[in-house]
């Protein structure tokens, strides 16, 4: 999924020669008979890059974890969202099948106490799986029940819908703004470069999490503002990466050639320079998503995302932190879900880095 812009970039900037070794830059085998040329698969940038990514075991594991989470998120069940009017839950009444595939067995926002088949349901009831010897008299809840008599498994499953995209969105904001700042600073240079980079220095001089807390509170305590804050805090990293690669790429001969051909500065920047600085951006971005998911969960945990009805893992833990000693499942299970998500992004990021940028292979 993240390889898509790289491929476009690699194609557009193919004559720049900055494509990742072993991937886009690798020529097809030199010894080829006319016959084999006809039957062999045509060398494709797409396929070469994808193959070199898939050769990395960590990328495979990461992709597997993330695909699993995406499937879980997509198949969780009917939509449950928070709008300005409050919670909008399209689950039907208890006991009615919502239709279609729904991995969540219950409505994640519905307290189940007193519903048919949920008699004797205890608050914070631990996991109960009939196949593993849980008495049949007790209602089955594979992750147990939370403090509001809601099915924890359904809530954790729905949490995927919030956490996985939130990492993408936050890093998307950081990359978008960071790229613009870095590109302008690196390409135009001079006092503007100095000013922009000193501002980035100031942002980098804060512990990022602290800055994210302040920004979230200043903007208003909502999950969306927390995403924005994590994005803003991430800007300097990407601005620096882009600036550095713009600085080195703009000295290349193919850029001079474009200028000689009369291409405008903006055109050179967008069509020649940017595509060639995409590799480090994609690698850092993928690794950054894991960090962003962690930060968002942390913000939710300390409670600056406000009250959100849609289940979010960090705030789920925050609300029941005091229950650790009596009902550890309500605290630890959402925590493991966060860990799995971050692990997926980190492994994929590691794999991408190893595949696309051997210079960074540390």
């Amino acid at each position: 999924m993240s390889s898509e812009p790289l491929i476009k970039g690699g194609l557009a900037g193919g004559h720049g020669g900055a494509g990742g070794p072993g991937g886009p830059g690798a020529p097809p085998g030199p010894v080829a008979t006319a016959d084999s040329l006809l039957t062999a698969r045509p060398a494709s940038l797409w396929r070469d890059t994808l193959a070199s990514i898939l050769r990395q075991r960590s990328a495979d594991v990461g992709l597997f974890i993330l695909s699993f989470l995406v499937v879980v998120g997509l198949l969780a069940g009917p939509s449950v969202t928070t709008t300005s009017k409050g919670l909008e839950d399209s689950w039907p009444a208890y006991g009615t099948d919502p239709g279609g595939i729904h991995l969540a067995p219950f409505d994640p926002t519905l307290p189940l106490l007193g519903e048919a088949g949920q008699e004797g349901l205890a608050r914070f009831a631990p996991p109960c799986i009939h196949a593993l010897g849980c008495p049949a008299a007790q209602p089955e809840h594979i992750f147990g029940v939370d403090g509001n008599f809601r099915d924890l498994f359904s809530r954790v499953v729905y949490g995927t819908r919030v956490s996985v995209p939130s990492g993408f969105i936050a890093i998307g904001i950081a990359i978008l703004i960071g790229t613009m700042i870095g590109a302008v600073a690196g390409y135009i240079g001079g006092w503007l470069d100095n000013l922009l980079m000193r501002i980035m220095d100031v942002l980098l001089a804060f512990p990022s999490f602290l800055l994210a807390i302040i920004i979230t509170v200043a903007l208003g305590r909502t999950l969306n503002n927390a995403l924005l804050a994590v994005g803003i805090v991430g800007i300097p990293v990407y601005a620096r990466i882009v600036r550095a690669s713009v600085l080195s790429i703009r000295e290349n001969e193919f850029v001079t050639a474009s200028r000689a051909l009369g291409e405008s500065s903006l055109g050179i920047l967008v069509r020649r320079v940017m595509p060639n600085s995409l590799t480090p951006l994609i690698v850092q971005g993928t690794l950054g998503i894991g960090g962003a998911v962690l930060e968002i969960a942390g913000l939710a945990f300390i409670g600056v995302t406000g009250d959100i009805s849609v289940p979010e893992w960090g705030s789920m833990i925050s609300l029941v932190r005091g229950q650790l000693f009596n009902s550890p499942h309500v605290v630890l299970l959402p925590g493991f879900a966060i860990t799995l998500t971050v692990l997926g992004f980190n492994l994929l990021g590691d794999g991408l880095r190893d595949a696309l940028d051997p210079r960074l292979n540390r």
């Binding site: 001089a205 804060f206 302040i214 942390g298 605290v331 860990t339 540390r362």
Partner: protein, 381 residues
Amino acid sequence: MTRFVLRRLLLSIPVLFGIVFVVFTTARLIPGDPCRAVLGERATDATCNAFIKRYGLDHAILPGLYRRGADLVFVPADIPETLIDNQFLGYLGDVSRGDLGQSIKQSRPVTLMLIERLPTTIELSLLALLIAVIVGVPLGLISGYRRNSAVDVATMAFANLGVSMPVFVLGLLLAYVFAIILKGTPFSLPPSERLSAGVSVLPLVKVWGLQSVQGAPRAFLDFISGIYTFTALITGQWGAFWDALRHLILPAVALATIPLAIVARITRSSLLDVLGQDFVRTARAKGLRERSVVIRHAARNALLPVVTVIGLQLGGLLSGAILTETTFNLAGVGRSIFEAITGRDFAVIQGFTLVIAVFYVAVNLIVDVSYSYLDPRVRLR
């Protein structure tokens, strides 16, 4: 060398100025009425007017920018006359005189609160860093040298898991394992607070009979006394030392995990880089023992990038400290800032954040300087 340090020092001045500006304005932009955040919703307008006058909140925040109740008001006509007379320049003046202001909520100087709360965070962060380095570096060296061995695979798997687990989840998990599952065994550890009930660490001024000391030296002594383990250690209060250390282990391990994982990974890859270089082959070729090749030649060079990473991790430690302090119920800087933000206690937000940022800038400076000291090639650039 001196020129290099001076240049870096001068470069950090605009950064520090920027930090004061960002902290100041962001804190003032936090929505809501500061008066009612402190005095409660039932405060009358008259009370609030008096309150706002008392704390100088009626002055312009920045030229032409005022806060009236819950709203921010921009009056362009006032810019000229508030160019000098505004809260920001006033604050800048106070800070340059070492005055971080008064906490509105607690009616105490922010510096006093810092002396009380900063030691907790420093103690926690330093122990975490220590754990990260003394465990992470050897692990990284071993797994780099014995690449693809069981140790290597296990370390890297652990490192991946370590950087992926939120510090609060790990903290809660540790608390559950060591305070509940292992309860009653010698391995049980307390999951919150800094000392057990009834245990206290005698402050240095009492132990050394220096109650008459006042001013800055006293502040310094009180500050050091707040670092319980250190104070108890140097004054021989063994019972209190053991208790304080036991309370510190779980939060420190939770906080150390991410930097530990990063240090181990960087050490490993750095050693792999170095082992492939010519001077290592030369060292082997001239018949040095393998141990000497790895430790004296390779490891020493491999640790250069590790120094940078350790420095960079300090910032991350401070971020993690906020979450760790919340998880383990410790009254440190992170928790104070968070409480101040929710209570709109401007002076505390500004003072604490500023101290952390200054500390962060200083650490980066030290890392840069030590790096150029360790690697002469950096200086030549």
